[in-house]
């Protein structure tokens, strides 16, 4: 009997590996619409969608892109994702994008927005300055204005007038997408033997290039197919993986993590698709609703200031919610936010008595042996403690 998920995962794998963004080009040809790229962590994709364009998540070049030109732009102590992103850009692979959005993640991505302004003068380039002040009257007002400006630019690009109704429809579609993704994550945590993480990851990555409606349907199909699997759970260690919110780990690394005896029950990869934890309300002023959603119930991540709760509270909640037995920090080399966050999370985990281990990678890392040894030992030790 063939594995019921094979076909879907294969489709996602093809999308993942296609660094020419054929799916985007085809969509543009088919619909005559335009496409706008966005970098990781979070972007209000609803606005792009409402303006009749395809939002395209750009998460670097991954393990399969050879860097020929990108290294000329960055010193050796800067992380890998901007090199591969520049490589994609200057080799024309991103020509299919009519604009590019750079969320406020860190100094490197912020400066990358300026580089983009210099290199691609004929494209829409916009830096998304998210508020770090979270009251409606201050940060909310500022952010609503940011969103309004962005929407004007997008609308000018696509020549589509975005009515509140239109934007509400887009928000509704993304709400639905966030709900199926939440279900996908819950299902994995409940039955990790049926939803291998590398499959989940590929399904998530497909959200970067597929129209939201198609992606929602794809997740549903995947969940239905995975449910048909008849597999027994292994005695693996249940872990939450954190630190990889921007530059993504190579697939092989994810597979190595699983093969070493870990079930990943939560992670922060392709975070933008799950950044908002609840539905965005479909109120009278959708921009205000989007702003409120950003200010309110979201994930905690290193690039977002958290004024209220203690550092690491969100991570510990996730450990509890998903019944994890440990945490694997898996952060890109030279990633200031992730690596500076790490000691604080470690302290929080130590206080909570949650075991952890940590590892650095680059998106094009091609050695997994040490990593596998390390996570394998970690999984074994968790099992030993657990038994004791």
């Amino acid at each position: 009997m063939t594995d019921p998920t094979t076909e879907i995962v294969e489709q996602c794998r093809v999308l993942y590996e296609d660094l020419s963004f054929t799916a985007v080009k085809q969509w543009k040809e088919r619909t005559g619409g335009r496409a706008v790229g966005f970098m990781p962590v979070y972007a209000p994709r609803e606005l792009i969608h409402a303006a009749g364009m395809l939002p395209v998540g750009i998460m670097g070049g991954g393990e399969n892109l050879e860097i020929i030109k990108g290294d000329a732009y960055f010193q050796s102590y800067i992380c890998h994702i901007p090199r591969s992103t520049i490589e994609l850009g200057v080799t024309g692979r991103l020509d299919c994008l009519d604009g590019m959005l750079f969320p406020a993640i860190c100094d490197v991505i912020r400066n990358l927005s300026g580089m983009w302004q210099m290199l691609f003068k004929d494209k829409l380039v916009r830096y998304l300055d998210f508020p770090q002040e979270f009251t409606a009257g201050i940060g909310g007002a500022f952010y609503r204005h940011e969103l309004e400006g962005l929407l004007q630019q997008l609308s000018a690009l696509s020549k589509v007038t975005v009515t509140p109704e239109r934007l509400r429809q887009s928000i509704a579609l993304y709400n639905e997408n966030r709900r199926v993704i939440a279900k996908l994550y819950d299902t994995r945590a409940k039955t990790p033997e049926k939803v291998p993480t590398y499959e989940l990851y590929l399904v998530m990555r497909a959200s970067n290039v597929l129209p939201v409606e198609e992606h929602t349907a794809l997740v549903e199909r995947y969940l239905a197919a995975a449910a048909k699997r008849d597999r027994k759970p292994l005695d693996n260690a249940r872990v939450v993986v954190t630190g990889a919110f921007c530059e993504q780990p190579p697939i092989a690394l994810i597979r190595a993590l699983e093969a070493s005896g870990c079930y990943v029950v939560d992670d922060d990869w392709v975070l933008g698709a799950r950044y908002l934890l609840g539905d965005v309300k479909l109120g009278d002023d959708p921009l205000t609703e989007l702003a409120n959603a950003y200010l309110g119930d979201t994930v905690e991540t290193a690039s977002r200031y958290e004024p209220r709760r203690k550092k690491g509270a969100f991570l510990i909640d996730s450990v509890k919610k998903y019944g994890a037995e440990g945490v694997v920090f898996c952060a890109p080399s030279f990633c200031d936010p992730a690596l500076l966050e790490r000691p604080m999370l470690v302290e929080a985990l130590n206080k909570a008595g949650v075991p952890h281990t940590s590892f650095n990678y680059a998106e094009n890392t091609s050695q997994y042996h040490v990593f596998k040894e390390q996570t394998g030992t970690f999984a074994d030790s968790i099992k030993l403690w657990g038994a004791a």
Binding site: I68, K69, D71, A72, S366, Q367, H369, V370
Partner: protein, 457 residues
């Protein structure tokens, strides 16, 4: 004869070049760099002078010997000259070794060690004659390498199963070679060439040319080089005993040297042992922009040396092995620390060594491509220099990437590219000559070496 000298003190080799009043090359010299920079510098300079004299000798002989006969003749003269020089170093080595054995802490060890040492040294002397013949494949141009390989080979043979004796012999050699290396044995041109001339005149095939040889040799010896200015450059240039005005950055020297060798050069790439340089020059060879690798030596010649060690093959075998690759493997790490781990892991996974090596060469060239891009790109003509330019797998990867990224263009690689920096320095010496520098030279370095007993005979 007036001459201008350029010296390039590199991390592995030290090079010197002599240039005449018309900016024509007179000769090159090279030696291995060593802890005593002054000696390395002196020897390279003397080698360059010898090389210049041989060029003159060749011209003399060509005018005096009909047909192609002079080529064979000069080849023999050169080999016999090398033999004379080698013998003198061997003599010094023998003396040093004997002294070292006399100082062995355990007196009982001395006589048996002496006995074996004598056998080895006699054998080495005998072997030497065979080493210096035209067409013989030289294991190395440097005495240290030639002597070490003979000595170790013979010591192993003679010591047999006596591991302790072998240890003593090797210890003796290690101490002694340092003393030999601390002196110059090159500055006795007249002595060596007379020895060579005598030997060659006695050879039946050159009997007819006896007089021509004597005349040509005498004319060559009579030439005196008046060095009007010397400029030093290279990695270790700050340690040269020169006034500041006589030191130039290797970037400038490389640019000018490349322009001298290939006047249409606009972009120069140099991959040496310690660093990689991408240089743009104008139509006069003046540097307009440059970039060097960042502070780690990843992607430089040193990296290849490390990989060779890691794979347990010789440095010179890497290129040929990589040429046998059948598929391209992408190596992501040019960090010397990580590359080793990546290599071992992939070999363990069954990747072919040849394919891995091809990937490594490409990785090095990709780093160089980044530096080229940062310095302003690649403009025809493009000249590639440095030790890595001798490695065909590297040059092939470079040609391919240049063509893909900058279009087809002329790529110059000179077999003498190792002298690029020294040539540039010599050109600066000629062009920068200021009255007050005349006569400022390596006087302090010219410590004469006493002739050995064999030569006095």
């Amino acid at each position: 004869m007036d001459a201008y000298v350029g010296i390039d003190l590199g991390s592995t080799t030290t090079k010197a070049v002599f240039l005449d009043e018309h900016e024509k090359l007179l000769g090159f010299g090279i030696t291995n760099s060593r802890s005593d920079y002054d000696i390395a510098c002196q020897i390279a300079r003397e080698e360059a002078e010898i090389n210049s004299r041989f060029a003159i000798l060749r011209r003399e002989l060509r005018s005096q010997v009909a047909g192609d006969g002079h080529e064979q003749l000069i080849a023999w003269l050169f080999q016999k000259y090398r033999l004379a020089q080698h013998s003198r170093q061997l003599e010094a080595l023998a003396q040093a070794c004997r002294k070292a054995v006399d100082l062995l802490p355990n007196a009982a060890h001395r006589p048996p060690t002496h006995a074996v040492l004598d056998q080895i040294l006699t054998e080495m002397e005998r072997e030497a004659v065979g080493l210096f013949t035209p067409g013989a494949v030289a294991r190395s141009d440097f005495f240290r390498d030639v002597a070490a390989s003979s000595f170790l080979h013979l010591a192993e043979k003679k010591a047999g199963d006596d591991a302790k004796l072998l240890d003593r012999l090797i210890g003796t050699y290690d101490k002694s070679i340092l003393q030999v290396e601390a002196k110059s044995y090159t500055n006795a041109f007249a002595d060596y060439i007379r020895f060579a001339a005598d030997a060659v005149r006695r050879m039946p095939e050159f009997e007819a040319h006896g007089e021509a040889i004597t005349r040509a040799v005498a004319n060559t010896i009579a030439i005196e080089f008046r060095v009007l200015n010397t400029i030093g450059t290279g990695y270790g240039r700050q340690r040269l005993p020169f006034p500041k005005e006589q030191i130039r950055s290797e970037i400038l020297c490389h640019g000018l040297g490349a322009h001298f060798m290939f006047p249409k050069t606009r972009t120069v790439l140099d991959i040496g042992g310690q660093d990689t340089k991408a240089i743009q020059v104008d139509e006069n060879g003046i540097v307009t922009n440059f970039q060097m690798n960042d502070r780690c030596a990843a992607g430089c010649g040193r990296y290849l040396g490390y990989i060779a060690d890691e794979m347990n093959v010789g440095l010179h075998e890497l290129g040929p092995l990589a040429m046998k690759s059948r598929k391209q493997v992408k190596i992501n790490s040019t960090c010397t620390v990580f590359a080793g781990a990546e290599l071992r892991e992939r070999l363990a996974l069954g990747e072919r060594r040849e394919d891995m090596l091809a990937g490594l060469h490409r990785a090095i060239i990709l780093r160089a491509m980044s530096l080229l891009a940062r310095s302003g790109g690649v403009v025809s003509e493009f000249t590639f220099t440095g030790g890595v330019a001798k490695n065909q797998a590297a040059t092939d990867a470079l040609r391919k990437l240049i063509a893909e990224n900058y279009g087809e263009m002329t790529i110059n690689i000179s077999p003498d590219s190792i002298f690029t920096g020294a040539i540039g320095a010599a050109l600066f010496a000629k062009r920068d000559r200021k009255g007050d520098l005349i006569g400022v030279d390596l006087k302090a370095l010219q410590k004469p070496v006493k002739p050995t007993a064999q030569e006095q005979r």
